[in-house]
Symmetry: C2
Subunit: 153 residues, 2 copies
Amino acid sequence: MIRITRETDYGIVLLSRLASVPRPGVQAARELASWAGLPYPMASKILKVLARAGLLVSQRGARGGYSLARPPEQISVGDVIAALEGPIGMTECTSAPGQCEQEGHCPVRTRWQEISAAVRDFLQRIPLSELLRSTPLPLLHLERQAAPGQGCP
Amino acid sequence: MIRITRETDYGIVLLSRLASVPRPGVQAARELASWAGLPYPMASKILKVLARAGLLVSQRGARGGYSLARPPEQISVGDVIAALEGPIGMTECTSAPGQCEQEGHCPVRTRWQEISAAVRDFLQRIPLSELLRSTPLPLLHLERQAAPGQGCP
DNA sequence: ACAATCAGGACTGGTAGGGTACACTTTGGC
DNA sequence: GCCAAAGTGTACCCTACCAGTCCTGATTGT
């Protein structure tokens, strides 16, 4: 279904929350969970992973919590997905070579690699900060160019 | 993991095979299966679904088989995915509204809808015929524009 | 008539998503 | 110095769905 998991979805919501408070905004997992309407254990699980991946900084002990490791402009949707689900690839063979026995003679393999790369790049270029803007949106548009490196002037 | 299922992957390979023979190229499921290195029941299952979805035309009886319902330029990767996995959406709420209780106040919902739409469009614009070209590739590129309808001149 | 072929299910095993629980460590505050 | 409030790590369960098989029927060319 070309779908992110629920955990990733939650992760993005939690990060967005952290991105929307003035930095440095340390928030406890319980606060974040209740704000997002998630059971605490679930939120905690996700936050742990995001911290280990380097997207969050954790502060242990009383009055501890989580805060963004980088400004929200420098954390992309792609980063979050990669942290919670592993490398982004539309097919098994694109994310982990050697899985498919057909690899040698598969007629569509290289194309899938290109398609995956395009989607990955696309997600990599959407920062958290953009997710939050409730105002006029820079329309996301997927373009096919005739040649590399020849963007609009 | 933002991944198409194996069935979809197989489906695209099978369709590509049909697209690569001169039309009207009726091929039996057994032939297609052995060509793709798939067990016959698996290939058969997939072909049935693709036929019901209108991407393939089936011919029953002796010397029957499958052929493309439309020229390969008019069948897109998005069509195949939709046929085998249902509507394309990166999150549950984008492909089937009403699933998420948070829908009303989810801060990132509209953005996901845009992102999903962009990916869906992108896949919708890659025809089977393109997957087969082994020659210089029109680079796939996902672009973000400032405004709609203002592509390169 | 018969064999080749597709159609439509039912059925099964495995794995990953989604969620919970618990024992442990760290740290601020009194 | 102790306690409570945090995060850490790991183990665990359950369910759904992916991946794959099998069987019984309906068509149709020869």
